[in-house]
């Protein structure tokens, strides 16, 4: 029983040491690569460009949809005309 407790204590301690080591590693890499703030490209001006692209994509989608409808109707018109 005591043996088992000892074993558990040791493994807990080992886990603690191991994980704290990882944590330190992570913290260190974060501080080493200090300049994370990269406001370039699409990250500029409060990321408004992302919104512009999203809206543009939706609009292109709608226009594409309209074009498709237009073509389908043209086809139907021709089919009915030839009947």
């Amino acid at each position: 029983m005591i043996n088992l407790l000892k074993k558990a204590g040791v493994s807990l301690a080992l886990i603690f040491i191991a994980t704290s080591g990882f944590a330190q590693d992570a913290a260190q890499t974060a501080t080493n690569n200090a300049p994370v703030e990269m406001a370039t490209g699409l990250y500029q001006s409060g990321k408004i460009y992302v919104v512009v692209i999203v809206v543009a994509v939706i609009l292109i989608g709608i226009i594409g949809y309209l074009t498709m409808l237009d073509r389908k109707i043209s086809k139907l018109e021709k089919e009915i005309e030839n009947k």
Partner: protein
């Protein structure tokens, strides 16, 4: 294919105008105004809805008058479908206007002449559809609704263009001071606003033509049922 492109040049032009509006409308500089702040950019999206509505409803009026003179049912189809599309743009206009009002004037709805006028106009056009729906005979329906449509457009002019200018309104350019001169003086905004108006109107017209063609096909195929 190329022939198709030439025939549909205005649709391509509409798409380009609207795309340009979205990009330039978000990114170009706008004058800093109190209360409005960045919402001034709504000018490129909210206002063209009304311009589109008025243009398309004018098409509807035009074909109603045409129907009364030639009794051709094709004119009635165009008039009714145009009224549908015009209403659609009007509803978008009233929803976007309400959202804009909430964050600038402080409420979803204010007792403003132009707002109430817009609401009344939409109700008048709703009555047009109810009228159409209640008449079964084709010729009769076309004739009566054409007459009503003329009345509806006159009311639109009164409620959207005349009354707001006679009363004080929260909208700029009203209260005896017509036009957009107040904020339109800014030349960068003009560079986006005009293409925006043209683009949204043409996009509305495109939707209208699709609706008209669908209705014509429907009548052609189900006429013998």
């Amino acid at each position: 294919m190329v022939f198709e492109m030439i025939k549909n040049w205005w649709k391509i032009f509409a798409a380009l105008c609207v795309l340009y509006t979205v990009i330039a409308g978000f990114l170009f500089k706008v004058p800093a105004q109190p209360i409005l702040h960045e919402t001034i950019r709504n000018l490129y999206f909210h206002v063209p809805m009304w311009f589109g509505m008025m243009t398309i409803l004018f098409v509807s009026l035009w074909h109603s008058i045409k129907y009364l003179s030639n009794s051709n049912i094709q004119s009635d189809i165009i008039a009714s479908q145009a009224a549908h599309t015009g209403m659609f743009m009007g509803v978008l206009g009233i929803i976007t206007g309400s959202i804009w009002a909430r964050y600038t004037w402080g409420a979803w709805w204010v007792a403003d002449t132009k707002l109430n006028g817009a609401a009344i106009t939409l109700l008048i056009y709703m009555a047009y559809f109810i009228l159409r729906g209640s008449l079964d005979e084709e010729q009769k329906r076309a004739r009566i609704s054409a007459v009503y449509n003329i009345f509806a457009y006159v009311m639109l002019i009164v409620f959207l263009l005349i009354l707001p200018r006679l009363n004080d309104s929260l909208h700029p350019g009203n209260g005896g001071n017509p036009g957009f001169s107040k904020y339109d003086l800014d030349s960068t905004m003009r560079m986006v606003f005009y293409p925006a108006v043209i683009g949204w109107i043409l996009l509305g017209v495109w939707m209208m033509t699709i609706k008209i063609r669908i209705e014509k096909l429907k009548r052609k195929t189900f006429i013998n049922d």
